[in-house]
């Protein structure tokens, strides 16, 4: 009994959990050490940006457009009830810029990019390609992790802005069908309630989400356990954990931004 007590600080499960947190912390620390240290893998970063950003465009376009249309459609009845249908563009713009665009983009990216990174790195780990890189004097962390995390951190904000634009286009389509509002009138009305803080918070959130998605995917893939099962688990866990973290970050950032907004 006494021996067992000495082995674990709390219980075995919790100890493993805290150990996981420590390892993740170490992983993040390592990333920050490596990211500012030359040589910089620009070519690989650009390739990853292409993979992560450009190849996500069709998915983001579809989801953004649908979100814009659906959100407008669903919001209209309650506004029409007060005779405030003209507030729709402003309402949609606030909702999209402040919340929907960063969050939906991040969630979709977590599903697509996070799982992709997790599975890719996991299979590299399982097939011992990472070990081979280490042997051949290439820093696998720098080449695999830093490039991917940098790419997601850069690309998710871009995708977010694109999502917001497409979402507003979808919203315009619906508003135009119902209220025959012109394109200029719609966007003037949509941007009038948007402040710099809204855009800045949205961008900041996207940067955080991008970093989270890249980091979680890389960590889970990089530390995948041996075997093909590990690859699936790494892909799955990277999606689950990054989504979970995105929501936690969302609530914290919204709280801080509201605090700044009032102050």
């Amino acid at each position: 009994m006494s021996l067992k007590k000495r082995e674990h600080i709390t219980t075995k499960g919790l100890d493993d959990y805290f150990l996981g947190i420590y390892n993740a912390f170490k992983f993040v620390r390592l990333f920050f050490r490596e990211v500012f240290k030359p040589p910089f893998e620009f070519k690989e970063i650009i390739r990853q940006c292409y993979e992560i950003g450009y190849k996500s465009l069709p998915l983001i376009t579809l989801t953004g457009f649908v979100t814009g249309i659906v959100f407008t459609k669903q919001s209209r009845p309650s506004l029409v009830e007060f005779g405030a249908a003209s507030w729709l563009p402003g309402l949609i713009a606030i909702a999209v810029v402040r919340a929907l665009a960063p969050l939906v983009t991040a969630l979709i990216s977590a599903g697509k990019i996070g799982s992709n990174i997790g599975a890719e790195l996991g299979s590299m780990r399982v097939s011992e390609q990472i070990d081979a890189m280490e042997v051949s004097a290439i820093n696998p962390f720098k080449f695999l992790v830093v490039t991917r995390v940098t790419a997601t951190t850069l690309m998710i904000p871009v995708l977010m802005m694109y999502f917001a634009f497409v979402g507003l286009l979808g919203s315009f389509l619906n508003v135009n069908q119902n209220e025959h509002t012109s394109f200029i009138a719609f966007f003037q009305s949509a941007f009038s309630p948007i402040s710099f803080l809204d855009v800045f918070t949205g961008l900041f959130k996207s940067i955080m989400y991008g970093f989270t998605i890249g980091m979680v995917g890389c960590y889970k893939g990089y530390n995948a356990s041996r075997g093909t099962e590990g690859v699936g688990k790494a892909a799955n866990m990277s999606v689950v954990i990054s989504m979970f973290l995105i929501f936690i970050e969302e609530i914290v950032i919204v709280q801080i931004s509201n605090w700044i907004r009032i102050a």
Partner: protein, 324 residues
């Protein structure tokens, strides 16, 4: 390895706790101001709170100063609302301020509005009960409006009947509208009235002219009205007149006294004259005698004129009279 692991686990635990503290801290930060704001409680009793809920805002002159803390029924089935008010607003809420249920905009949340209160009244204290201000609910307003609608309907119905009758030529106005003779009479009347008005105008012009003259300086009326000297003179004259009247009055009294005296005192010469018949008869005789004596004297004088002794004098006198 085990010690390194333990160290790692401790760091992990530390990071975990740190993250939790950070998250909870950030979430609490939004309400941190409210948590540390000093408040006090006041209450008010309404018959109907129209859906007010704990947490609804309390406004003083349009400024949010607190929230509704509790809503309870009291023994009279009235609703007691306990309000949590910021301490810094306490000095502005007077004991005679009134509370009423209102709403944020037309369709917004229910709020309590505190208004009124005079500076001579003391500020409220913890646990004070504010009187309520009577408000009109939408339902009551609608009921009144409905009554108005019914009245309007009756009025418009009546108007409709009236207009129909008028068109058909019934009633005075209807006849007025439709009857040609009446119209002509009216026209005639109007013409007469116009003439009368013209005459009146002339009359008023004359009157105006007259009054203008009255107002002219130097005129009698104007002087009478404006000249103080004349007025003083008149006043003096009146005083003198009054004096004269009083003198006359005195004189009349004296006269009266005298006459009374004459009437009563039969021994006085006048009394004898008036009342004694003997004396009267002798007086009459005396007068008769006097009359005959004067006649005789006249005759004697006539005879004297013809007397030679005095003839010369009379001739001279006639001559002088002629020359004059």
């Amino acid at each position: 390895m085990a010690t390194k692991n333990k160290h790692a686990i401790r760091v992990g635990l530390f990071i975990f706790i740190g993250l939790i503290f950070f998250t909870v801290g950030v979430l609490a930060i939004g309400n941190i101001n409210k948590t540390f704001t000093k408040t006090f409680l006041i209450k008010t009793v309404f018959d109907d709170v129209s859906g007010l809920q704990p947490g609804n805002n309390i406004w003083l002159s349009g400024v949010k100063i607190g929230t509704v803390k509790e809503i309870n029924f009291n023994e009279n089935t009235q609703v007691e609302v306990i309000m949590k008010i910021e301490k810094k607003s306490q000095q502005y809420i007077r004991k005679n301020a009134k509370a009423k249920i209102s709403s944020e905009g037309l369709i917004g949340n229910k709020i309590i509005v505190i208004s009124g209160g005079t500076p001579d009244s003391a500020p409220v204290e913890n646990g004070d009960a504010l009187p309520i201000e009577k408000t009109y609910s939408t339902e009551k307003m609608m009921n009144t409006l409905q009554e108005n609608n019914i009245n309007m309907l009756t009025i418009t119905d009546n108007l409709k009947i009236m207009s129909e009758k008028m068109i058909e030529g019934q009633g005075t106005i209807g006849k007025l509208l439709n009857d040609e003779t009446l119209y002509k009479n009216l026209e005639h009347t109007v013409a007469t009235l116009t003439r009368a008005a013209e005459n009146t105008q002339e009359l008023t012009a004359s009157v105006s002219n007259f009054t203008k003259k009255l107002n002219e300086k130097g005129g009698f009326a104007n002087d009478l009205v404006t000249d103080t000297i004349i007025f003083n003179n008149i006043r003096q004259s009146v005083a003198q007149l009054k004096e004269v009247i009083s003198t006359a009055d005195e004189f009349a009294n004296n006269l009266k006294d005298a006459s009374v005296d004459i009437n009563n005192n039969t021994n006085s010469p006048l009394g004898i004259l008036l009342h004694d018949e003997k004396s009267a008869a002798s007086l009459k005789l005396s007068i008769q005698n006097l009359e005959s004596s004067t006649e005789k004297l006249d005759e004697t004088m006539e005879a004297l004129q013809h007397n030679f002794l005095l003839k010369g004098y009379f001739k001279k006198k006639d001559k002088n009279d002629d020359t004059e």
